[in-house]
Point group: C2
């Protein structure tokens, strides 16, 4: 493999016979992201979770299509691996079969596809209405690494610790990261319970245990990985692309008061581990191929990455340019039918490190990645307050309230608030694609 190239699946003139796909903000024919869904039990004999691909407002059922004999060769191998309740087996296969499967599905669903007629005949068996299906976390995540690659977010947080050197001496050399909690990952749409924990405000003499008083969201991009490496054998950056499946969202919910009290000296723990929300669709590296822009040189004075973090081809292919938005929908907005209020918009170009650099760094000591492992990029904030991807930044850790379109204000999240993330990749001459939403509503603890 190596870095995904632009090919016929990005041709903007191609349309789908699934009508809702054409002009769809997230899931046109040119996207075809992978996920795991359960069709509704009442009309599907086997409603167990299985792999699917989003197309317009439908879900393409990989297992049903495989059973109908629609796949051949490598694509059939991939389809078999994607027929179970998690995509780990698909991720374990590497890019080749996945690419073949996406190409064959593209051909099946394109109006002018060679095999489109066969697929159209089977439409009722292989397509489900997305809005009546249940979505799942797409893979059993063995390890969840959270990076800190959003440089404006790192600067905003660091400024509170050390105004003179907010990033510290290592930030521009090390793709800083920590291990986060895999067991409590949940999928978009599931409520997030306000955690309790130990916290101590500066004015308090001693800590107490109780509900979080500084509940926050963090707008992060999720990176799904596979097949990964053997322990002791680092993945060179030139081969990193072979181990990146695709992207989605992770909302790295953060209990700031718990985090601030617990984190010395070993880092965040319970302030993060009560739950993290991922979006259900994995937008593949293949679909995202057109949406990269060559990396500018490091700003003057910034060090050139160490050789193990430097790959000419990765730099030339460029960083992903994906527009990100974070919204809040309060109970009041929901009751009155208002749209969510946009809190920020930023871009994956605000990341200091590329995804390939993250893969190379994670494994440079011999640590092994397993199929289904997940990276979070770290909160992606833009350079100005309009782009700050967490309430901790927007409220200056609770010191400043933020007005909402409903007339309400927020420093941190209140019960009933829903955080909503959206992402779109756009480029002239190409069909825009999106991640689909990542939503989570806070409920009382």
């Amino acid at each position: 493999m190596a870095i995904s190239a632009i090919d016929e699946t990005h041709d903007p003139k191609r349309q789908s016979w699934v009508g809702s796909a054409n002009g769809h903000a997230d899931f046109p024919l040119q996207n075809l992201p992978f996920g795991v869904f359960s069709p509704p039990g009442n009309y599907v004999p086997d409603a167990k979770a299985r792999g699917g691909m989003a197309i317009g407002d439908k879900i393409f059922d990989i297992k049903a299509a495989l059973a109908a004999g629609l796949f051949s060769d490598e694509a059939a191998i991939a389809a078999r691996a994607a027929s179970g309740g998690s995509l780990n087996p698909l991720m374990a296969l590497g890019a080749g079969p996945r690419v073949a499967l996406r190409r064959q599905v593209f051909d099946l669903l394109a109006t002018d596809g060679k095999n489109a007629a066969k697929a159209r005949d089977l439409a009722t068996a292989i397509l489900h209405d997305a809005d009546v299906c249940a979505m799942h976390v797409p893979a059993k995540v063995m390890s969840f690494t959270d990076f800190f690659a959003g440089i404006h977010h790192a600067t905003n947080g660091g400024r509170r610790r050390n105004p003179n050197d907010p990033l510290g001496p290592n930030y521009k050399y090390v793709p800083v990261a920590y291990h986060s909690r895999a067991s409590s990952l949940q999928v978009s749409g599931q409520p997030i319970r306000r955690p309790s924990g130990q916290r101590k405000l500066p004015e308090e003499n001693a800590p107490s245990y109780g509900p979080c008083r500084k509940l926050d969201y963090e707008l992060e991009v999720a990176i799904w990985l596979g097949p990964g490496n053997r322990q002791g054998e680092p993945i060179p950056i030139s081969e990193a692309a072979d181990h990146i499946v695709g992207l989605g969202f992770v909302n790295d919910w953060s209990a700031r008061d718990i985090q601030q009290w617990e984190s010395a000296p070993l880092g965040p723990f319970l302030g993060k581990s009560f739950g993290s929300t991922v979006s259900p669709w994995i937008v593949t590296m293949e679909a995202l191929a057109p949406f990269r822009v060559a990396q500018p040189a490091r700003p003057g004075g910034d060090p050139r990455p160490l050789p193990y973090l430097w790959d000419e081809a990765d730099q030339k292919a460029g960083a992903f340019a994906i527009e990100l938005e974070a919204f809040i929908l309060t109970e009041k907005m929901r009751a009155s039918g208002q749209a969510p209020h946009r809190m920020s918009h930023s871009n994956t170009l605000d990341l200091y490190w590329t995804i390939a650099q993250m893969v190379a760094h994670q494994t440079c000591n011999g640590c092994n990645i397993e199929p289904g492992d997940l990276f979070g990029t770290g909160t992606i904030s833009g350079p100005t307050p309009e782009g700050w991807g967490s309430l901790s930044e927007l409220s200056r850790d609770g010191q400043q309230s933020n007005p909402l379109s409903s007339g309400e204000t927020r420093t941190f999240l209140e019960d009933g608030d829903e955080a909503v993330f959206r992402a779109h990749a756009r480029r002239d001459g190409y069909v825009s694609i999106g991640f689909g939403e990542c939503r989570g509503r806070v409920v009382a603890g």
Copy 2:
């Protein structure tokens, strides 16, 4: 369940018809720890990994005994769960079936057991020589949490950061912990490759990537967990004992130079994730029941634990009193047939927090534990240098070399050095039990 009581399986007068068990330093009849092993292929038809229990210098084959019809009721359920290549299914069952299985195996292997005759007839089928079997990591670990509960270790490390307040304001309130890496866990006996990584010595202008120059071991006790809780539903400390399977070792190998450069502000990452070694045997809470001593009150001035970390029954049952030893065996010692050199001896009583407190803390925010999850206690150091459980402490971060019995000296580990851990629980009137060894030899990167 609740906290394990002393029962007939701790009777010091009971002996085993497996001769090597009687007087065995680690695995007498009164221990019966669980592990996963592969019998040698040449004489066992099905040599696939399965659960076993250590007895003297033999391994009792749970799957073979189940097939021979030696178990009934709950014990048969547990035996079935322990017949596969990992103990996660056994851990998922909770304590009841596990306790029943250990009792029936005790009866089968006791000289005067009611069913001993049946078992003796089948001895060649159900017992394997341990030294020809391969041991495995006993469970697929989903999440690996590393605590920091060894207060002398925390003090020694903190002193370098802040001599006036080495523990910081949170240590005596919060069972400090961080998430470590589950994917790179390995079992005793496997070599550990010297990792490379990014590190910067104080006298260097910029970091470089290369082999670790401060490779260390950390003497920690491993805590195996199951069945665990549902996300959002904390385990109250009064029920924590129901989720603790047993204990073993973890050697939390640490690349100090990598760790020191990378850790700000999110904690250790690649300095730990290149590999952690666990001992193969899980010594159950049941076997350890006699080896607890009632907790003294917190030293004067130390805060009483917050209510969610306080359980009268846990305090009365007491902390575990297990003697720990760390050794180094160098290439020179190995070549000349010398015994390993003992670097330290400490005791699990040097932990500031009980295991029940760790379970309550891990879940107090709603984070879920899964069957097979692993805690490390953090390095267990005694109060004086004789008890310091890592080279970083013994060498004052490389400033002081330590003489070995071979005439060599060490600040940090050299290629060819093997770290060896041993543990024994002793109490008058009871048969001593041990963990078996945890070994790992450093090989060049």
